[in-house]
Symmetry: C2
Subunit: 163 residues, 2 copies
Amino acid sequence: MTIQRQLVFLLTLCLMCFTLGCTQEQASNSDTRDTDLEAIKSADAAWAQISINKDWEGSYAYFTSDAVSLVPHAPIAEGIEAIRGVFDQMQGLPGFALSWKTASVEVSSSGDLGYSFGSYELSFDGADGAPVTDIGKYMTVWKKQADGAWKVALDMFNTDLPQ
Amino acid sequence: MTIQRQLVFLLTLCLMCFTLGCTQEQASNSDTRDTDLEAIKSADAAWAQISINKDWEGSYAYFTSDAVSLVPHAPIAEGIEAIRGVFDQMQGLPGFALSWKTASVEVSSSGDLGYSFGSYELSFDGADGAPVTDIGKYMTVWKKQADGAWKVALDMFNTDLPQ
């Protein structure tokens, strides 16, 4: 081979490997989509089951330490301690129960950020002892942690019932 | 150079270019972070200004066609037509006004999905003509469109006021 041919060969090889490097990275992103969607759906379902079981301590473990929760009739709760404050009060209501069902999930192509939304049912015993039931909807933003687990960074809910 | 030395040289070159390819892709992801955060913040502020201006048609243009809106005292509104139905009713209240301020934004490393949350103020004229004011909080999920613009895929709000 002449020097020129060798140079052309080397440059082509470099370009091919560089492109392969880029493609690999993109492929690894999109390849995780189905796994990530399934993981968020599973996390949301497992979290709901923990709530059905009234395992409130287990429920708090789903939030990141700097999570934000936007609960009706309360100011923005920033950080896990503020979130505990708001939810401890709700969970302290006599006969309090909360469950929810995921309607849909979505995830970023980088697989680090996703969200779910769906419907909830909440009930407790009113002042007269009769059960008070609320139905509504929620949305949750999930962040993938360093260990691969999905945790709640932000969540919110509101009622479907007429004012 | 011997054949062996040439082979080692070529393999090293391939590895370097492959790694460079991967690194470039990752760098291009994280390089857009600040731009994306700024773009979401700007979009949220521009959207709020459009609402202050009571340009409701302009406001609807911020939603993707398959967006979902979770409005209090109403079922889940899926798709822009359902969203119009819910918001047209609210905006039809006499003296209706709505504004909000972003508190925080976040974005995925792939720069295709992000969210914002903050506080809102809503008011309208009550049955007796006296203004009724509600303050609360909102969260919005943003998706980057093919043209680079950020649009609303999901949003929700609820009141801070006591029940």
